[in-house]
């Protein structure tokens, strides 16, 4: 019975992952992260991703502030960082928006930057929600699997 639950959860997780890959939200880099996670490093993914969330929120707030002040160069620098970390965890769509955003800052295009920032915030939120969902399923699966052993 417990094993059955774990399998269902595993299927859920895979379905979600497949969906995210298909949508281009995540790419193989994320897959690599998952593959590197094992008994030796059980929290690999969640640790990196949590740091990513933490930093990204700061970056987004900064970006909004800088845009108000029309500090395009500084925005470019922040965006480089955002791009770097997003690509390191495999957040493909977020990275792509950053690239477009960066192009807009290079041209000091305020309207373009505004649009890009909104899109970025949107994509980032979506990613965050989906990844939270993924981690929840993971946790549940770990719980279910964990209960099995003492029995």
């Amino acid at each position: 019975m417990l094993g059955f639950g774990a399998d269902l959860l595993w299927a859920d997780m895979n379905r979600l992952l497949a969906f995210l890959f298909h949508q281009g939200v995540l790419d193989e880099q994320f897959l690599q992260l998952q593959q590197l996670q094992d008994e030796a490093s059980p929290n690999f993914v969640s640790e990196v991703v949590n740091i990513y969330f933490h930093e990204s929120e700061k970056l987004l707030t900064n970006l909004r502030g800088l845009l108000m002040e029309r500090e395009y160069k500084k925005m470019g620098i922040h965006l480089n960082q955002f791009m770097g970390s997003s690509s390191s965890i495999g957040a493909k769509r977020v990275t792509n928006v950053c690239v477009a955003f960066r192009a807009a800052t290079d041209q000091s295009n305020r309207a373009g930057c505004l649009r890009a920032l909104e899109m970025l915030e949107h994509e980032y939120c979506y990613l965050k929600n989906k990844l939270h969902e993924l981690f929840q399923i993971e946790q549940q699966r770990a719980l279910v699997a964990g209960v099995r052993y003492p029995v």
Binding site: Q32, Q35, A40, S41, V48, E55, Q81, S85, S88
Partner: protein, 424 residues
């Protein structure tokens, strides 16, 4: 015998427990890298600032085996760190960044980086990075296959070295090398420098002597040994002449074929040789003489495609790196009175291959992706060769900043597409 055992010792020291210093102001990346290094069993220390890292490294010079550093950082960027660190210490430094434009990579290599990694980073890169430390220690230990059949004298010197090496505990080879007595250190340095092949610069005079010798012997009878004798230049070895002769022959062939064909044809470029690691592609790399041999892009060429032609053009494409902006110079070997292009002709030694191995996967990828037609050489974006020939751009002095621009354009269209497909 001690010689063999020291080599084995070197082998078995790695890859466990090399000490890596990672410098990156991006916390996500830093954590990512740290975790992977732990997975690979390296001892990793991290810094978010170059100044911090520099102090750490300079304070205790022997405490780090390898440094990984991001190029673009706010307070002190990777270049500056590289410049300062390479003056003081002799540790392999790998530079990494999201930005992999020609200019960035070239600059890094110019400043002494032993490798350049493009972000996002992959596990296999970390898996293999100990090779940089190994290479350095092998160089210092002067352990080469040659030594196994070396003279008695060589054997004695190495045996003496072997004794020192046997003092290792669990410490790495590199660390002990630097701890060894100054006398040994001097000796090893001397040996390292004498082991390196000196570069031969084929200046105009030398080349004209070469051409005369070849003419005298007749092109088909011209063997390197006899050419050397004819030229009678002290210090010129048969090997130098041999490689130069090969290039010369290729040049002549190219020239005669260009003269034959009149019309410009569109050709599909076959790139059969771009398999990473094959000997042929390696030899192409060593022909990567920037200024002279490859300087004529085939867009000027009225070339018909033959198999030999393809590989020659292919070489040129590899070599020119930035075909769009290369000057079509008429290099006339027959006239040795043309000093300019020959002035900076150089034969690169084996060390340049290191850059190639690092990027060969991406090269083959990019070259396979781009189908090249002749006349399209000038329209082939320099970015396609973005990862190749850092040495090249160096010699040509060409910063190539269009790379990131191009990728930006591509990606922004992706964004548009994605928003159309969104269904959440």
């Amino acid at each position: 015998m001690a010689q063999v055992s020291s080599f084995e010792k070197v082998q078995y020291q790695f890859p466990e427990k090399i000490r890596v210093l990672v410098v990156d102001n991006n916390p996500t990346d830093l954590d990512f890298i740290k975790q992977i290094c732990n997975l690979c069993n390296y001892e990793v220390s991290t810094c978010t600032e170059s100044t911090q890292a520099l102090n750490l490294v300079l304070e205790r010079k022997d405490c780090i085996d390898l440094i990984l550093i991001e190029v673009h950082m706010p307070t002190m960027n990777g270049y500056e760190f590289l410049y300062r660190a390479s003056k003081e210490i002799d540790v392999p430094v790998i530079v990494m960044s999201l930005d992999h434009s020609n200019y960035t990579v070239t600059r890094a290599v110019q400043l002494g980086a032993c490798d350049f990694w493009v972000k996002p980073l992959r596990y296999y890169q970390f898996k293999n990075m100990w090779t940089h430390v190994l290479r350095k220690s092998l160089k210092e230990n002067n352990i080469q296959t040659k030594d196994y059949v070396g003279s008695l004298e060589d054997g004695e010197r190495s045996r003496k070295r072997g004794k020192d090496n046997s003092e290792f505990g669990s410490s790495s080879v590199v660390r002990d090398q630097s701890n060894s007595s100054s006398k040994e250190a001097e000796e090893s340095k001397h040996r390292v420098s004498s082991m390196k092949k000196p570069r031969v610069v084929w200046i105009a005079e030398l080349h004209s002597k070469f051409v005369n010798a070849v003419k005298k012997l007749g092109l088909h009878q011209a063997v390197p040994k006899r050419i050397v004798e004819e030229m009678n230049v002290p210090g010129l070895t048969r090997e130098n002449v041999a490689s130069h002769l090969q290039k010369y022959r290729d040049y002549l062939k190219r020239k005669s074929e260009m003269k034959e064909t009149q019309t410009q044809e569109h050709t599909e470029m076959q790139l059969p040789n771009m398999v990473p690691g094959t000997t042929e592609s390696r030899s192409i790399r060593t022909l990567a003489d920037p200024s002279v041999y490859g300087a004529q892009p085939p867009s000027n060429a009225n070339v018909s495609v033959g198999a030999m032609q393809q590989s020659l053009i292919h070489q040129q494409m590899m070599i020119s790196g930035n075909p769009a902006s290369s000057v079509s110079r008429n290099i006339d070997y027959a006239q040795s009175s043309n000093p300019n292009p020959l002035g900076f002709l150089q034969i690169h030694d084996g060390n340049t291959l290191n850059q190639y191995t690092a990027t060969e996967a991406s090269i083959s990828q990019q070259l396979q992706n781009s189908s090249l037609t002749s006349g399209a050489a000038s329209s082939v974006s320099p970015y396609a060769y973005g990862s190749t020939s850092p040495i090249l751009s160096l010699s040509l002095g060409l910063p190539n900043t269009s790379a990131t621009g191009l990728s930006n354009q591509n990606s922004s269209t992706d964004v548009v597409d994605n928003t159309k497909n969104e269904d959440h």
